[in-house]
Amino acid sequence: MIRFEGVTKRYVEASGTGGGAESVAVDDLTLEAPTGQITVLVGPSGCGKTTTLRMVNRMITPTSGTISIDGRDTASLDVAELRRGIGYVIQHAGLFPHRTVLDNVTTVPRLLGTDKRTARSRAMELIERVGLDPAMARRYPAQLSGGQQQRVGVARALAADPPVMLMDEPFSAVDPVVREQLQNEFLRLQSELGKTILFVTHDIDEAVKLGDQVAVLRVGGILAQLDSPARLLADPVDDFVAGFVGRDRGYRALSFGAALELSLADEPTVRLGATAAEVRAVGTAWVLCVGDAGEPLGWVRAAAVESEVTTRVLHRGGTVASTTGSLRALLDAALSSPSGRGVVADDDGRLVGTIRAAEVIPAIEARRDGVGATTGSGTHAQTSARPAEEATAR
């Protein structure tokens, strides 16, 4: 557990006359980052996120207040020892250009005196674990894409198996598709490793997706709200947080938690190769086509089938929701389906039934009434605080 107690950082602006105005980067911050969880610090640029993070490994010294890790005041520890026990990942990875990927990853273990062979074999494991081809181990950073460099950055930070990780906008400099991949793999990795992570981002979507808890900071380094992602979306404490969390927060809040109860309709289906007559016997407008294992393949417009159902005539625009998935996924399945009937499958991907948007709304209302009962208690079950899409991926 990382604990901030009344931590303040003031900078004296350098000025020619010597006086110098003071500016407060972090203001009386008290915060706990629980062991084994991801605590996200989010806020607009200049609100003191980086300063907060760097005070943990003493790259910046607090003006006042204490920071402790597992009850030990960081100020009392040897600074090199402290830093080697904390993994640090930054925006542009900051890899050593003159060292190969493998030698980058072995840096901290080597500093800690691990012999070369052990350090290297462990590094190779990590390189694979963060999703890199082992052949890349011999490359130099300049030979990697931004996303790959970032993976190496994560592997390097994990190399000495530190209990604590500090991550400063690690995924901000890569394109959205790669970012999403990195985020998902990061969550998978964290579910295996259970590190105590302080994660900084300016992107509220990333904060809500990754955080077990999210701390929203406002400019001047003031903690505005500390809550689970679900509660942050459902109940922002003030206009600043509400504005920062964004417009479609009502819709996005549906990402958290599955429906309590679903009323699914049975959906008659056809297989690939079904004749036009067979299709029309099932339905006259849109008919769902499934594969051999019962997995939904796509919708067929009955009128468009000339001789038989081929993959070419399948409409693939509709998303598929999972029975254990989120209300957001359910609603999206209904809204994206050409027939208006959202396809719902079980965890193995087999069709269970369909649901219309109008039937998802009662499920949303039912859940809101359920959540309403706990509003104000401030506690939330971990499982429901996670976006449901990831819950299935983990």
Partner: protein, 213 residues
Amino acid sequence: MTWALDHLGEIMSRAGQHAWLAGVPLVLGLLIALPLGWLAARQPRLRAVLLTSTGLLYTIPSLALFILLPPLLGTKILDPVNVIVAMTVYTVALLTRTVADGLSSVDGSTRQAAVAMGYGSFARFRAVDLPLAVPVIAAGLRVAAVSNVSIVSVASLIGISQLGYFLTDGYARSFPTEVWVGIVACLLLALVFDLVIQVVSRFLTPWTRAVAT
């Protein structure tokens, strides 16, 4: 040409002395410029002082330095040590700025990562900043090498043996061939220095040739 062949032994021995007088100061100068450059790169205030004062050293005329050094060092006027010391001064003058620039050229995020991994400032210098500064330092060394080779030839005016002798002697005897031999030999020597520095730098920086595939 035949003159050159006839005097090959003498040319080679003077070239050897020339290489010694220009090369040793190159190494000594680098060894002194490294800590000075390191200090300059660490301390913005020291930087201005160090770079200005070492820069000024380069403006002292070489002949003056060759003559002023013996009483300062307690050496004889014909002692080659005077030349070595003078050339070291020039090398330091040229290289301090280069070393400082090279060390501060390391990317901010790379330096930050090194600090966060628990590198102390000396360990970081040795393991990160210095290796990354090699290309910049090598470029500075090439300039210093050429400069040294050309300044050393002035030492023939005070009677110290090296390739410059052919220039003064050829001039005194109105014998252009000898002057040309001196010039070409100096050029070739400068080229050899340049080549050696490039090869060593290449050997130390395999990563600079690693490009995106």
